[in-house]
Each structure stands twice: as structure tokens, then as C-alpha cells.
Amino acid sequence: MSENRPLVDVRDLKEYFPVKSGMLNKMVLKAVDGVSFTIDKGETLGLVGESGCGKTTVGRTLLHLYKPTSGEVYFDGKLVTDKNIGEFRKDMQIVFQDPYSSLNPRMTVSDIIGEPLDIHHLYHNKKERAERIAELLTLVGLNSEHATRYAHEFSGGQRQRIGIARALAVNPRFIVCDEPVSALDVSIQAQIVNTFEELQQKLGIAYLFIAHDLLVVQHMSRRIAVMYLGKIVEIGSASDIINHPVHPYSQSLISAIPMPDPETARHKHRIILEGDVPSPLRMPKGCPFRTRCRFATEQCAQSCPSLTDRGNGRQVACHNM
């Protein structure tokens, strides 16, 4: 039974931020509004959506970097709470988007990668610590001589590798990758994507891969979840989502990807969405997508559709199916 248990099990996760507007008005920003998904051992779940849809918040709340407003996160069958999160830090790590601001400019690389080792007491003597740091650097494709340098001496791609080495230091079983390649050039992006894949094959790590670049997510993930305004609107296998999206939002999102291929570009039919994403402070009643949806009906204004099973592991939240 325990074999079939998912590694990460997120159930109805909610994260509301209080926002002040005006003197007495207190409003609530529903960044994540009831998100549920599971990730198996060694699997990659891609999480896509536009800016402000709450994908980063999902990753951070999941790791209790933000205190969840409600909902549960189970890691390997055990409930993660504020009190016992310390135990799980060794198993769950994160790689951030910006390789410039996520590394302390006053620390050497060996200090940056060594810090998690220090905190979790993962070595017996200094020699062991230095060896482990060298090993980690080689693992992510850097040189062990790099350990004495500072972050500013590296290029963006190399910095991202340092960030990955730091996450790997404690031998995690799960890493949240929060837009890890968005800040990088195309040629460097491919290097980092390959590094993530090789590490997964070698160490069996599961990823939650958050990104807005659908081509990269499609390449990395076995399954993809599409988010819109704090909710998952569709989740399914990567090829199903990319080739046959069902939810009207996923359809327009996928059709909007600029394809790096002139032939496909000429024959492609773009579904252009009208208008902008509504402010999460003034969310439309009912289905959050109905203000931009081509198929919106009376029913969509009244109740919010919940994720329902459509077979083949695909779940869609839409009334018009």
C-alpha cells in the first residue's frame, strides 16, 4: 500500500493575504484558493499559469514558507504542520527564479552550499564538509575550485547551478523549482533543464516545476496543472494538456505559445483572449475565468465549477463540458 502512496499530497490548500485598501477597509487577496494535487516519487508535475495566478504562492505555501490559511500538505503520508516542518526541510527544498537575488553576495560558494550542511549537521569534520561541497559542485556541472569564489564572479547559468547545489546539499526527495530557467538565455536554459533531468534520473528526486514557459514545462513534466486566479482549472498528462487542452483557458493559453517553427506558425489558429486577468482582489463571482471565456453561460456566473474527472487521469473545472 505504501508503494502507491504519493510523495507529496496537497489537499484543498488555501493562502489568503490580508490587504489594506483605504482606512478601515480590510480586503483579502485569495492568492491560492483551494488547490489539490499529488506528486509521485521521482515524478515532475508542471505548474503553469500567467503572472499573478498564484503558482509561486502554491510552491511556497506547500513548503510552509508562507503559513497556509487552510488545507493540508502530506509528505510521504505524514501531515506537515508548522511545528514539525523542521523535520521535512531535509526532504523538501526549493530553487528560486532569480539567480542574482537568491545568493548572498557576501558569502563564498562553499558557505552558501555548506550552510544547509551546517544546519542539519551532515558532516563529522571539516574535511568531510569540504568533500561534500566539492561533490555537489561536480554534480551540478561546476568545478570544485569554484568553492572559494563569490556569487558575483559567476554568470547567470552558473549561479543557478549554485542554487541547485544548495538545494541538493541535504539529499532532498522533492524540490520546488520556481521558474528556475526564466531569467536565463535560451542556450543556457537548455543546459539547466538538462541538469534537472539528469539529477532526477540519478537521484530520483520529484519536482514541482513552476514556469510560465509552456514549452519548457511540457518538456520537463509528466503531468501539467494549469492555474488561473488561484485555482487549478485543468490537470492531466503533459501530452494531453499540450495537444488536446479541454478547458477554454488552457486552450487559449496553449494556442498563444509562439511556436519556434515558421510552418506551424503560419497554420496555427490563435485563440485571442479578450481583456486582462481580473484583479484577484475583485474576483468575479462564479467561475473566475467567465469574464474572458467565449463559452460563458448563466451557470458560470452563479457557481464555481470544481475539478471533475474526465478519465485518463485528467481533471477539468468547467461547467460547459
Binding site: S187, A190, P258, P260, P262
Partner: protein, 335 residues
């Protein structure tokens, strides 16, 4: 006269003088742009794609200067223009939109006053005509409730709306060329699709030429007639979209195309380009890409490859291409 291309850039060199030395951002690029065409310039950060456009517009920072070359607009060298001439030239003949529409709009003036200013400077219309034109432009770029928007400040608009306002401002005086420097990079995919669609529609309607600068090969494939691939301030390859994507001749272009993920059923590993971009302070003697190139030969390290015609719509600057063409021509003779 009609045979003269609208814009001719000839052997343009631009450098920045810094404390560390001369940074050679653009090292001799040449291209022609015809009326009503869309030219894409693609390259990674630091490849000189933006600086080449800034040089054309003459909006380089104080430390930067064009050290060599000509920029001919309708046959006239605009690098010789006086600052006053340049001021009336910018905006009316060539305009530009930038990546981040927030930093390009003045936060303390309303959208309307900024839009009206652009029209007032370049035309001698009356106040009513200017107002009407501003409103017409906002409608043209698909801004909803244009009367209200004219009275609003930039921070009250979303990113996509701001970019539409920027486009309205750039096109208000019906320029012949619109230079778009990463216009959709800061925007979400669905908004990006809106803006690209808008630019294509406006281009058809108003017939201006567009220079599209981007690092996104997808955007380039979508809308460009001709593509220039830049690396370390030089043109690697230039040709029609089909030639660049289906018949790439420069190893860097090939590498770029291989390193983007594709939608395929079976999982193919990406082939990244090894190493990191070249240091513009110490450019190598030979081909700038040689140190990262898998097919580098001896000559690549010592001599810079010249731009060679592959066919009448395709130029490549790569020794491997020269070799390949030589072998093909020899093979042809033997037969």
C-alpha cells in the same frame, strides 16, 4: 529612387568606453530593410541586438558611440544629422517601443498628455485635432474606454494596456519604421498573443516596416519576413524565416534551434550550447563563437568568417558553411 531600400545599415560599429576598457557591443553589422517588411533581430543578452537599434535611433548612453559605419534612411546618412534634425526625425520617421512599458511612460503625466505631446511635437495640428488624433490612436490599438484612459495615469493600466499606449504613441505620427525592442518579453503569453496580433494588424493597415528585436525564437518565427541572428555584435546569419529555421548554416543558429524544447510525443533531450557567452572586452581574433562551437576548425580561431551568400535570400558568416559550399560546388563539377 524607388529601388533604394528604406533603411540601409552599413558596417555599423558601436563601442562603450568603460573603466575596464572598450566594450565592443556591435562589430560591423549590415542589413537592408524594405518598406512594409518585418525584420527580426534575434540573439542572447549581450549580443548587441538592442545596441544596434539604439545606434540607428542615436539614443546611446553618454559612454557609447558609433565608431564606424553608415545608417542610410532613404539614402540619407542619419548619423550625420544634427541633434535638432535627429529630434524631429525620431518619432516621425522612425519610432521605437521598449520592453518595459512602465519605465517608458512618465508616471506623473496622464496617458493623454503624453500621447498628445508626441503628436504636437511632430505635426502642426490644432488642439482639437490633436485630441481627436489621440483618441483615434487609442481606439486603433484596441484600448477599451479610450476617453477614460486618456485621463488616467500609467500606473492605473495593466501591462498589456501600457504596451498598447506605447504603440499608440509610437505610431501617432505614422512613422515609416517601428523598432520594437523586446515588446512582449515582460508580458504573459495570452497578452503577448494580443500584442503580436495587434502589431501585425497595424502593420497591414498602416504599411510601416518593423524591426522586431527579441530573444524568443517563437515570436520571431511567428511574424518576421526576414531574420538576423546576432552573436557578439556580429551578424551570424541572415535570411528568410524558412531559410533560418529549416536550412540554418551557422553553427550558433543550429545550436539555438536545437536548444529549444519542441512539442513532440517522444521525449527528446535538449542539446544545449556549451559554455557561456563571450566577453565583449576581449573579443577573440577569429570567430567569436569558436570557443563554444563543436565544429570549430583551425581557421575559426585565427580568422573571422566573412558573410557569404548561401542563396539569394540567405547569408551566413561561418567557416563551416564556406567549407560546405566549397565541397558542394566541387561535387557539382565532378558530376
Amino acid at each position: 529612387m524607388s529601388n533604394v531600400p528604406l533603411l540601409q545599415v552599413k558596417n555599423l560599429h558601436t563601442s562603450f568606453i568603460t573603466d575596464a576598457g572598450e566594450v565592443k557591443a556591435v562589430n560591423g553589422i549590415s542589413y537592408n530593410l524594405d518598406r512594409g517588411k518585418v525584420l527580426g533581430i534575434v540573439g542572447e543578452s549581450g549580443s548587441g541586438k538592442s545596441v544596434s537599434a539604439y545606434s540607428v535611433m542615436r539614443i546611446l548612453t553618454d559612454t557609447g558611440r558609433v565608431t564606424q559605419g553608415e545608417v542610410l534612411f532613404n539614402g540619407e546618412d542619419i548619423l550625420k544629422y544634427t541633434p535638432q534634425q535627429m529630434q524631429s526625425f525620431r518619432g516621425s520617421r522612425i519610432s521605437m517601443i521598449f520592453q518595459d512599458p512602465m519605465t517608458c511612460l512618465n508616471p506623473v503625466f496622464t496617458v493623454g498628455s503624453q500621447l498628445r505631446e508626441a503628436i504636437r511635437i511632430h505635426t502642426d495640428r490644432t488642439k482639437e485635432q490633436i485630441n481627436a488624433r489621440a483618441l483615434e490612436m487609442l481606439q486603433l490599438v484596441g484600448v477599451n474606454e479610450p476617453e477614460k484612459r486618456l485621463r488616467q495615469y500609467p500606473h492605473e493600466l495593466s501591462g498589456g494596456m501600457r504596451q498598447r499606449v506605447m504603440i499608440a504613441m509610437a505610431l501617432a505620427c505614422e512613422p515609416d519604421i517601428l523598432i520594437a525592442d523586446e515588446p512582449t518579453t515582460a508580458l504573459d503569453v495570452t497578452i503577448q498573443a494580443q500584442i503580436l496580433e495587434l502589431m501585425q494588424n497595424l502593420q497591414k493597415k498602416m504599411g510601416m516596416a518593423i524591426i522586431m528585436i527579441t530573444h524568443d525564437l517563437g515570436v520571431i518565427a511567428d511574424i518576421c519576413d526576414e531574420i538576423i541572428v546576432m552573436y557578439a555584435g556580429k551578424v551570424c546569419e541572415r535570411g528568410t524565416a524558412d531559410e533560418i529555421f529549416y536550412n540554418p548554416r551557422h553553427e550558433y543558429t543550429k545550436g539555438l534551434i536545437r536548444s529549444i524544447p519542441r512539442v513532440t510525443e517522444k521525449h527528446e533531450k535538449l542539446v544545449p550550447i556549451a559554455g557561456s557567452p563571450v566577453d565583449l572586452l576581449n573579443l577573440p581574433k577569429g570567430c567569436a563563437f569558436a570557443s563554444r562551437c563543436e565544429c570549430a576548425m583551425k581557421i575559426c580561431l585565427t580568422e573571422q568568417p566573412e558573410e557569404t551568400w548561401v542563396n539569394d535570400s540567405h547569408i551566413a558568416a561561418c567557416w563551416n558553411n564556406v567549407k560546405r559550399m566549397y565541397e558542394e560546388s566541387k561535387g557539382g563539377e565532378a558530376r
